[in-house]
C-alpha cells in the first residue's frame, strides 16, 4: 500500500520531469544556437543576394509542394479511409515507402527515375526537353526541389488526413446519400467540411517537413548557389565554406519560420473553432 501511495505521489512529478527534460533539450538547442551567433552575422548573411534568393525559393517550393500534397493526399486518404477494395493493405504500405526510406535513397531513386527509366527512346527528362525545350528539364532545376519535397511530404499528409477521416463517422455521409446526394456530393458537402482541421494540420506538417528536407534535394536538385539553393541546402554550402556562424544563422531562421507557420496554423484553428461555437 505505501508503495502504491508513493507511485501515485510520484506519477505527476515523474511525467512532468520527462516531458520537461525533452522541452529543455529543444530549448537548449535553440539557446546554444542563439548564443553562437550575433545579430551582425545575420545581417551580413542575408545581405548576400544568393541567400535572399534561397529564402524566396524556400517559400515558393514549400508552398507548392505542401499544397500539391494536400491536393493528392485528400483523394488518397479518402480511398484508404472509406474504400473497400482488394489490395488496400498493399496500397497502404506503398504509400508509406517515402516516409520510411532513407532521404538519400529518395533522391537517388528520383534521379534514376527521371534520367534512366526508358520511355521508348528517351528518359522522362529526355521527353520533357524534347517536347517543351531545355527549360522543362526537371533534374537539377527548381522544379526538382518541389518534386523531391512533394515525394516525402505527400505521404505524411496522407497519414494525417486519413486519421482525420477515420475519426469522422461514415453515418452522416450515408444519411446524405440516402437523402439524394451522390457519392461526390457527400464527399464535398459532408466529409470535407468536417475534415478541415485535419487538412490544415496536414498542410502545416507537410510545409514544415518540406522546409527541412535536405537529402533528396541534395541528390536530385543538386546544390547550385542561386538556382536550386533553398535554406536547408544553404546550410550545407555555408558549412563547406567554413562559415559556421552563417550556417547557424540559417538554421535559426529555419526554426523561426517553422515555428511561425505551426503557431499560425494553431491560432487559425482555434479562431475558427471559436467562431463555430459562436454561430
Amino acid at each position: 500500500m505505501p508503495i502504491a501511495c508513493l507511485l501515485t505521489c510520484l506519477f505527476l512529478p515523474g511525467v512532468g520531469l520527462m516531458a520537461g527534460g525533452y522541452v529543455c533539450l529543444i530549448l537548449g538547442m535553440l539557446l546554444a544556437g542563439l548564443g553562437f551567433v550575433s545579430w551582425q552575422d545575420a545581417v551580413d548573411l542575408f545581405g548576400k543576394p544568393e541567400l535572399r534568393s534561397a529564402l524566396g525559393l524556400t517559400f515558393l517550393t514549400c508552398t507548392i509542394s505542401s499544397l500539391m500534397s494536400i491536393l493528392v493526399a485528400v483523394p488518397a486518404a479518402f480511398l484508404l479511409s472509406r474504400g473497400r477494395f482488394r489490395g488496400k493493405s498493399a496500397l497502404d504500405t506503398v504509400l508509406d515507402i517515402p516516409v520510411i526510406l532513407p532521404p538519400l535513397v529518395v533522391g537517388l531513386s528520383l534521379l534514376i527515375l527521371f534520367n534512366h527509366l526508358s520511355l521508348g527512346e528517351k528518359s522522362i527528362d529526355g521527353w520533357l526537353v524534347h517536347v517543351f525545350g531545355e527549360g522543362a528539364r526537371v533534374t537539377f532545376s527548381p522544379v526538382a526541389v518541389v518534386v523531391a519535397q512533394f515525394t516525402v511530404c505527400c505521404a505524411l499528409a496522407i497519414r494525417v488526413i486519413r486519421s482525420t477521416m477515420d475519426e469522422i463517422p461514415k453515418r452522416q455521409e450515408e444519411v446524405a446519400m440516402s437523402l439524394g446526394c451522390s457519392r461526390g456530393q457527400a464527399f464535398f458537402r459532408v466529409l470535407l467540411p468536417q475534415a478541415w482541421r485535419g487538412l490544415l494540420g496536414a498542410w502545416a506538417i507537410a510545409w514544415a517537413r518540406a522546409l527541412g528536407e535536405f537529402g533528396p534535394i541534395l541528390v536530385f536538385a543538386g546544390v547550385t548557389r542561386g538556382r536550386t539553393e533553398v535554406l536547408s541546402t544553404a546550410i550545407f554550402l555555408e558549412m563547406n565554406l567554413g562559415n559556421l556562424r552563417g550556417a547557424v544563422v540559417i538554421s535559426l531562421v529555419l526554426i523561426a519560420i517553422a515555428l511561425v507557420v505551426l503557431a499560425g496554423v494553431r491560432w487559425l484553428g482555434r479562431g475558427w473553432e471559436r467562431e463555430e461555437v459562436l454561430f
Binding site: 525559393l57 515558393l60 517550393t61 508552398t63 507548392i64 499544397l67 500539391m68 494536400i70 491536393l71 537517388l108 534521379l111 534514376i112 534520367n115 534512366h116 531545355e134 527549360g135 522543362a136 528539364r137 533534374t139 537539377f140 532545376s141 527548381p142 522544379v143 518541389v146 458537402r189 470535407l192 467540411p193 478541415w196 541534395l218 541528390v219 543538386g222 546544390v223 547550385t224 548557389r225 538556382r227 550545407f236 554550402l237 558549412m239 563547406n240 565554406l241 567554413g242 559556421l244 475558427w272
Partner: protein, 270 residues
C-alpha cells in the same frame, strides 16, 4: 460550407501564384550555354570565386554542384555533366579507364594532415598520437577524396589502422571533419591543408612523410559525354592558368601547379 469554399478558393489562388513564381525561376534561368561542373566540397571557396572571374572575363557561365567526391561521381554517372573536379585524381583514373574522360588538367596539390584546435592543446603531432587513449578523432569515409586517399596509402599501415579503429566518427566530406574540430566536438581530424586554412579556429599539423602519405592532386576532368566540350575545356584551362584560376587558388592558400598537365590534349582536345 461558406468557410470551406473560401478556403478552397484561397488554396487554388496561392497554389497558382506560387507555381507561376516557380515557373518564372525555372525558365528565366535556362541552362543553355552553361557548363556543369561537379566539384568536391573542399574546393568550394576558390571554385566559386573562379567561376565568377571566368564569367566576368569571358561572359561564359559555369553551373556548380558540390558534394563529396564519391557521391558526385555517382550523381554524374546518372545525370551527366561537363566537368568533374574531385579532390583526388584517383576518381578520374577510374573514369578514364572506362573511357568517360576526354582530358584532364592538374590544378593544385593537397596534403593531408591533422587538424587540431588552435594551439594544439591535446599535443597531437603524428599518426600514432591519433590512437592515444581518451582522444576523440574524426575521419572521412571513402565517399570523400581524402578518405579514399588515406585508405589507399595508409590502409595497410598498423599505426593508421589503430587510428581508424579509435575514431569516434566517420564523415562524408572533409569540411565536415574540419567543422567538427573547429566546434571542439572532436580533438582532431584528418583534413587537407588548404581546407584547414579556411578555419580560423583550427591549426594544421603536417605529416611530413611523403613516402608514407604522398601529396594528392586536385585534377579537373572534361567528360567525354560533355555537350559543351570546347567551353568546358576553356574553363578547365582558365583554372589551370596561373593568372586566372591559379591566382585565386593561391590566394585561398592552395599550392597550385603552374604548368599545364602533361596529359592535356592527349584525347583530342582542341
Amino acid at each position: 460550407m461558406l468557410h470551406f469554399k473560401r478556403i478552397l478558393v484561397l488554396f487554388l489562388v496561392v497554389l497558382g501564384v506560387a507555381v507561376a513564381g516557380l515557373w518564372q525561376r525555372q525558365i528565366s534561368r535556362d541552362d543553355g550555354g552553361a557548363v556543369l561542373l561537379y566539384c568536391a566540397a573542399g574546393l568550394q571557396a576558390p571554385i566559386t570565386e573562379a567561376v565568377a572571374a571566368f564569367k566576368e572575363s569571358s561572359g561564359e557561365r559555369v553551373e556548380l554542384r558540390f558534394g563529396g567526391s564519391g557521391s558526385l561521381a555517382a550523381q554524374l554517372e546518372l545525370a551527366g555533366g561537363d566537368l568533374y573536379l574531385p579532390a583526388d585524381s584517383s576518381y578520374l583514373d577510374s573514369f578514364e579507364a572506362r573511357g568517360m574522360l576526354s582530358s584532364r588538367l592538374s590544378l593544385c596539390n593537397l596534403s593531408a594532415g591533422i587538424a587540431v584546435a588552435h594551439g594544439n592543446p591535446a599535443q597531437i603531432f603524428t599518426v600514432e598520437d591519433l590512437s592515444r587513449q581518451g582522444l576523440r578523432i574524426a575521419l572521412c569515409n571513402q565517399s570523400a577524396a581524402i578518405g579514399l586517399h588515406l585508405e589507399k596509402h595508409l590502409g595497410s599501415d598498423p599505426r593508421w589502422r589503430m587510428a581508424v579503429s579509435s575514431a569516434v566518427v566517420s564523415m562524408g566530406t572533409v569540411t565536415e571533419v574540419a567543422q567538427a574540430v573547429a566546434l571542439g566536438v572532436v580533438d582532431a581530424g584528418i583534413v587537407w591543408d588548404a581546407v584547414a586554412d579556411q578555419f580560423q579556429e583550427i591549426d594544421f599539423v603536417a605529416l611530413d612523410d611523403e613516402a608514407l602519405l604522398p601529396t594528392a592532386q586536385a585534377v579537373i576532368g572534361v567528360l567525354a559525354a560533355s555537350k559543351n566540350h570546347e567551353q568546358a575545356h576553356r574553363f578547365a584551362a582558365f583554372l589551370n592558368n596561373s593568372e586566372g584560376g591559379g591566382r585565386i587558388f593561391r590566394e585561398a592558400g592552395y599550392r597550385t601547379i603552374p604548368t599545364l598537365d602533361k596529359n592535356v590534349g592527349r584525347v583530342g582536345i582542341p
